[in-house]
C-alpha cells in the first residue's frame, strides 16, 4: 500500500470507521432479517462494473459504482419479489457479469487500476471529502430508519401483516434497496467488496443472541461494529496491512467464538437438566 501512515490518516480512518460502524449496524440487521446477505455481496461486486464504466467513459469510477450498485440493488430486489426461488441464480449472474464487464472496460481503457484496494478495502486512504459524504449518508440513514422505525420493524417482522395494515411496503422496500446500494459503496472503502458480507451479517447475528428488543439489537450491532472496526484499524495501522482483512478477521473470530460458546453452554445445560431428571 502506498500510504503514509501518519496520525492524521489514523484519525480520518477512525472517524470514517465510526460512521461506517453506525451505518452498517443499522443496515446489517435489515439485511439479516430480510435474508439478503448474498444479495448484499452481489450488489458489492456489481460495483466493479460501475467503476469500469467510469474508467471507460472518463467520469468518476466511484460515481459509476454508486449508480450501478443502486440499480443492481433495485433490480435484484424487484426480481426477488416476483421470482423468489431463482434469486440466487440472478445474484450469481449479476455478480459475475458485472465484474467481467468492469475488468473488460478497465482493460480497454488502458487504466492501471489497483484492485486490491477495492477487493480488501483501505480505510487509510479516506479523504476529508469522503468523510463528508459518509456523514451525509449517515444523516440520511438516521432520518429514514429513525423516522420510519416502527414501519420498518413491522415490515421486517411480518411483511404480509404490514401489507394488510396498509403500510406502503413497496416504498419501504425501495428506500431499503437504494440505501443498501449506497451503503455498500461506503463499506467497500472500509472492508472491501470481498469481505463486506461478513460485516453485514456477523455483528447483527451476534447481537441477536444477546438482545431481547429490536432497538437493542441495532445498538448492540453498532457497538460491536465500533469495537471490530476500531481494533481492526489500529492493528492494520500498526502492521501496515489492509484494514479490511484485520477488521474481518476480528469479526469472524468473534462470531465463531460466540457460536462455539453458545453450543458448549447449551450442551452443558442439557446435561445438567438430564442429571436433574
Amino acid at each position: 500500500m502506498n500510504i503514509e501512515f501518519t496520525h492524521e490518516v489514523l484519525i480520518y480512518a477512525i472517524v470514517g470507521g465510526i460512521m461506517a460502524s453506525i451505518i452498517s449496524g443499522i443496515i446489517g440487521i435489515v439485511i439479516l432479517e430480510k435474508r439478503m446477505v448474498m444479495m448484499s455481496g452481489g450488489v458489492a461486486h456489481t460495483a466493479i462494473g460501475g467503476m469500469g464504466l467510469g474508467y471507460f467513459f472518463n467520469f468518476s469510477p466511484m460515481l459509476g459504482a454508486v449508480v450501478i450498485s443502486v440499480l443492481a440493488s433495485l433490480g435484484i430486489g424487484r426480481f426477488q419479489r416476483r421470482n423468489q426461488q431463482h434469486t440466487d441464480v440472478l445474484i450469481g449472474v449479476f455478480w459475475a457479469m458485472s465484474m467481467a464487464l468492469g475488468v473488460l472496460l478497465m482493460d480497454i481503457s488502458g487504466q492501471q487500476v489497483e484492485f486490491e484496494e477495492y477487493l480488501f478495502g483501505n480505510i487509510f486512504s479516506i479523504t476529508p471529502v469522503q468523510l463528508w459524504i459518509f456523514a451525509g449518508l449517515l444523516v440520511l440513514i438516521l432520518l429514514i430508519f429513525g423516522g420510519f422505525y416502527h414501519a420498518f420493524k413491522v415490515y421486517l417482522f411480518d411483511e404480509e401483516f404490514a401489507t394488510v395494515q396498509g403500510l406502503n411496503v413497496r416504498f419501504l422496500e425501495t428506500i431499503l434497496f437504494i440505501v443498501l446500494g449506497l451503503t455498500t459503496i461506503l463499506l467497500i472503502k472500509i472492508v472491501g467488496m470481498l469481505l463486506i458480507v461478513a460485516l453485514y451479517s456477523a455483528p447483527p447475528a451476534i447481537a441477536k443472541k444477546f438482545s431481547r428488543h429490536f432497538s437493542t439489537v441495532i445498538l448492540t450491532t453498532i457497538l460491536l461494529n465500533l469495537i471490530f472496526v476500531i481494533i481492526g484499524v489500529v492493528i492494520a495501522f500498526q502492521l501496515k496491512i489492509s484494514s479490511g482483512t484485520s477488521i474481518i478477521f476480528i469479526t469472524g473470530l468473534t462470531y465463531f467464538a460466540v457460536v462455539t460458546g453458545e453450543a458448549i453452554h447449551k450442551k452443558k445445560k442439557a446435561r445438567q437438566q438430564a442429571l436433574v431428571e
Binding site: 423516522g147 422505525y149 416502527h150 414501519a151 394488510v164 395494515q165 396498509g166 431481547r212 428488543h213
Partner: protein
Amino acid sequence: MEKALRLSEVTINYHTQIAVQNVSLTVDQGEFLVITGPNGGGKSSLIKAILSLIPVTKGTIEILGKQQSEVKGKIGYVPQQTHFDHSFPITVRDAILMGRLPSKIGWFYRYSQTDHEVVNDLLEQMNIAGLAKRQLNELSGGQKQKVLIARALSSKPEVLILDEPTASLDVKAKAQIYDILKTLSQSMTIVMISHDEQLIARYASTIVFLNKEILYKGTELPHSPFNLGFGLSSMEALHEH
C-alpha cells in the same frame, strides 16, 4: 345490511396453475365462516386474495360493500405461525402494538397512550398479561397464537381473517383458541381456514369446502368428504354428488 364479504366469480392463478376457479361466495356480518378442504385446494390463495396480498385473475372481491383498498383498517389478519421469523427480537407487547400502526404513518411516529391502553385490554382479554414482557420466541404455540390474534384485534377490525390458527397446536390449546374466536364472533365477522373437523362442526356457523372451486357450503359438516378424509376420491365423490 352490507355483506361482510362478497366474492363474485373469482379466479386466481398462481404462476401458471389455477389455484382458485370461479368462486362466488357471500359472508354475512357476524358470520363465523370456516373454509376447509385439501392441501393445495386454494384456501390460502383465496384468503390472500381477499387481503389483497395476491391479485385475482378474474372476478371481484368486496369487503363491507367496498373495494378492498378502502377498508384496510377494518380487516384483522392472523397469518400462519410458520410464516414469520420466530427468532425476531420482539416482546409480546411490541408485537401487539404493531396492529395499532396507522397506514399513513407520520415521520418519527410514536405510539399514543390510547394505543398502549388498547394493548393492555387485549393482553387481559387474551389472558396473557403476564407474558407482556416476554419474547415471542419464548412462548408456546398456543400463547403465540393468542398474541397474533391480539395483534389482529388491536386495530379494532370488523372482519377477522385467520389462516390455520390452530395448526400444530395441541387439543387443549386448539379448544382455547376456538373459545376465543366464538366469543369474538358475537361482535365481528370471522373467516378462517381450518382442518379441525370436530371443532369446526361445533363452532362454525358456516362451513365452506374448497378444492379450487366451492364443493360445499352449509351449516354442518357434509358426511362424505370428512369421514373419508380429504383425499381425492372423496372430493370427486362429493363433486359428482
